[in-house]
């Protein structure tokens, strides 16, 4: 395991950039040092569960040390010994049993549709676009709204898209980062087998976390994998979606770590936002490669932090308040949940709203209102998406 660390020159750039070092016991340079001089790193005092796997450290390292992989290795050791936080245990057991980390049964995975007509792929089916919704937008009531907005927006593009319905299973991105490598391998195997039952053109996801693992860690997929921001941005450029309407608000974009830092997608979400008439777009002082992590990644949605210091999402929201924006836009369900929580705890609910980019587009297009007014809207709009529910 230590091989990946030999290049380290102990310059400390990793720890210097690590967003959670300032609020927890995690000191990644020290962890590496201890490992190199063969002191065992296993105590929870070292804060290995505080890491959000945002990968700022790996990006900053001048010697190309894969620092995040080392954290995952340390977590794997604890997973193999079985002594992990009860919430980590329950999350992993839930993925194993139900195919999602939220402890919810598979039969309810497509309930978010609320009767919306979307084609659900059956074995042997072909689709030009497959929308991988992801566990959180499938089950969490707030982020279900993102999935519904996505469906409305896609229907205006008149594209042939489908979803997997209750066949969809956790991608494993967070499972891997919590150190449960065996379960991750199992998910890769099962998901790959599932996808091979269909003929898929382009596969796209709500979450940058799902996108990241499908794109970079599944080796045997033979279709194009995109995050929705790149796909919808292209649809807009091609004129397939025309952002009419207006969204006259001051908006700042929060870069999700798994979209930006880990997959170099910085421009498309901004282009997409700029294409919406009325938006005045702002930037955080720390943005793009320097963007501040919201602490939702690396399994941190299910890991209790040991620290009482201010959460990074709260810092982020306060920065947004200084910019006097109306909306913090993001493109990740985890970012949305952590930031929205921080808006509430900071008592900024009346002045700042957290929205996913696709929700902004949906609102500008007035699609939700339209749907509420005209119940048969879905039938008139979805010209080429067969209803099969």
């Amino acid at each position: 395991m230590n091989d990946i660390l030999f290049g380290c020159i102990q310059c400390g750039r990793c720890t210097g950039g690590c967003p959670v070092s300032v609020r927890s016991a995690l000191n990644i340079r020290k962890l590496i040092y201890r490992s190199l001089i063969k002191i065992k790193n296993k105590s929870k005092d070292l804060g290995i569960w505080e890491c959000t796997t945002c990968s700022t450290c790996s990006i900053r390292c001048p010697k190309g040390v894969d620092v995040v992989d080392y954290i995952i290795d340390l977590r794997s050791d604890e997973i193999e010994r079985g002594k992990v936080q009860p919430q980590v245990r329950d999350t992993l057991e839930s993925v194993f049993k139900f195919g999602n980390p939220w402890g919810r049964i598979r039969e309810k995975r497509a309930d978010w549709l609320e009767g919306n007509g979307v084609r659900i792929l059956q074995p042997g089916d072909k689709t030009r676009f497959l929308y991988f919704v992801g566990c959180t937008p499938c089950y969490d009531t707030r982020t279900q709204e993102i999935a519904r907005a996505m469906v409305r927006v896609l229907k205006t593009a008149s594209c042939d898209f489908a979803i997997l319905g209750i066949q969809e299973t956790c991608c494993g991105n967070e499972v891997k980062r919590m150190g449960e490598v065996g379960l991750f391998e199992m998910l890769v195997e099962e998901n790959t087998k599932l996808f091979k039952k269909f003929d898929i053109g382009t596969f796209f996801t709500t979450s940058p976390h799902c996108f990241n693992t499908f794109k970079n860690e599944y080796i045997d997929l033979d279709f194009v994998i995109e995050h929705y921001t790149t796909l919808i941005n292209r649809f807009i450029k091609e004129g397939r979606i025309e952002p009419r309407g207006k969204f006259e608000k001051r908006v700042v974009f929060h870069d999700p770590c798994f979209l930006g830092k880990q997959n170099d997608i910085y421009e498309e979400p901004r282009e997409l936002l700029r294409s919406v008439p009325g938006i005045e777009l702002f930037e955080f002082e720390r943005s793009r490669e320097r963007s501040l992590c919201c602490e939702g990644g690396g399994g941190r949605m299910w890991v209790e932090t040991e620290s009482d210091e201010e959460r990074l999402a709260v810092t982020r929201v306060k920065d947004a308040a200084v910019l006097e924006v109306d909306v913090i836009a993001t493109a990740c369900p985890f970012c949305l949940l952590t930031l929205e929580d921080a808006v509430k705890t900071s008592n900024l609910e009346d002045s700042i709203k957290v929205m996913d980019i696709v929700e902004i587009l949906d609102e500008a297009l007035g699609l939700k209102d339209e749907e509420e007014r005209v119940p048969e809207y879905q039938n008139t709009r979805s010209s080429d998406s067969k209803q099969s529910q």
Binding site: I79, E80, G82, V84, R89, E93, F96, K97, G182, L183
Partner: protein, 253 residues
């Protein structure tokens, strides 16, 4: 110290719809997800914690179908020494007494100092197998144990009684305890651990018929729909508002 732990594979029914088959005696398992019975998981953890302090083996016993190997393997992954699965031909018609009798026949051979079971199964909820097993083995038992210590051939156990009362007992080993949930924090069994556990000993006892049943399931059915339930309609805010009004009206808030 030699410990036996009796475990059971049960369906998870917190959110799932439970359907009854045409015989009206069994539920339909197809759509259900199964796991180790919750209280048994705590019993297993208690055995593992004890073994961290003293030398000895942990043997897992279960009465169930081949699928029960899943929960045995999970226990082996966590550190149990070996597993025994008992699958009688009339598996579908067992009562708690028959299960206890099947277990007793195997457990009595093992020379165990301590036998642990969960205090209740989450599917049929009899709470009978543990105590019946103790009777059949002719050893003392204590139920609903929430704390346990072993010293010099004796166990000191705490039991939870009604009204928040605790009872402490000193019991000579060998003895059987039925373990209450919450006594510890069960560990996680990793998938690689479960795969590796396939190399551990798992003895299967088949081609036997359970005898001596004293109870028979006559019929399984849903309780008739009562008139007392009031379903509140509307969004979250509306529903919670209505709920507050009702609770206030009944003097509960």
């Amino acid at each position: 110290m030699n410990i036996a732990v009796c475990i059971k594979r049960v369906p998870e029914t917190a959110e799932a719809a439970v359907n009854i088959d045409s015989s009206e005696k069994h539920i339909i398992p197809d759509q259900l997800v199964f796991d180790i019975n919750e209280a048994d998981n705590y019993a297993l953890e208690e055995a593992l914690l004890l073994r961290e302090k003293t030398e000895g083996d942990i043997t897992l016993f279960t009465v169930g179908s081949k699928e029960s190997d899943e929960v045995i393997k999970m226990g082996l992954a966590k550190g149990a020494t070996r597993g025994v699965r008992i699958t009688p031909e009339n598996l579908d018609n067992l009562d708690a007494y028959a299960v206890a009798k099947l277990l007793a026949e195997q457990v009595k051979e093992g020379n165990f100092d301590l036998i642990l079971t969960g205090c209740i199964s989450s599917d049929v909820g009899n709470s009978q197998v543990g105590v019946t097993l103790a009777e059949l083995l002719g050893i003392p038992h204590a139920t609903l144990v929430i704390k346990m210590g072993i010293e010099d051939g004796f166990a000191t156990v705490q039991r939870e009684l009604e009204g928040g009362l605790l009872e402490e007992l000193k019991i000579k080993l060998p003895a059987l305890f039925t373990i209450q949930t919450g006594i510890n924090e069960p560990r996680y069994a990793s998938i690689l651990g479960i795969k590796r556990a396939a190399q551990k000993e798992l003895r299967v006892i088949e081609n036997i018929t359970a005898e001596g049943m004293k109870a028979e399931v006559v019929k399984m059915y849903y309780p008739p729909v009562g008139k007392m339930a009031e379903i509140l309609e509307g969004g979250v805010e509306e529903v919670s508002g209505k709920l507050c009004e009702i609770l206030k009206g009944k003097g509960l808030l």
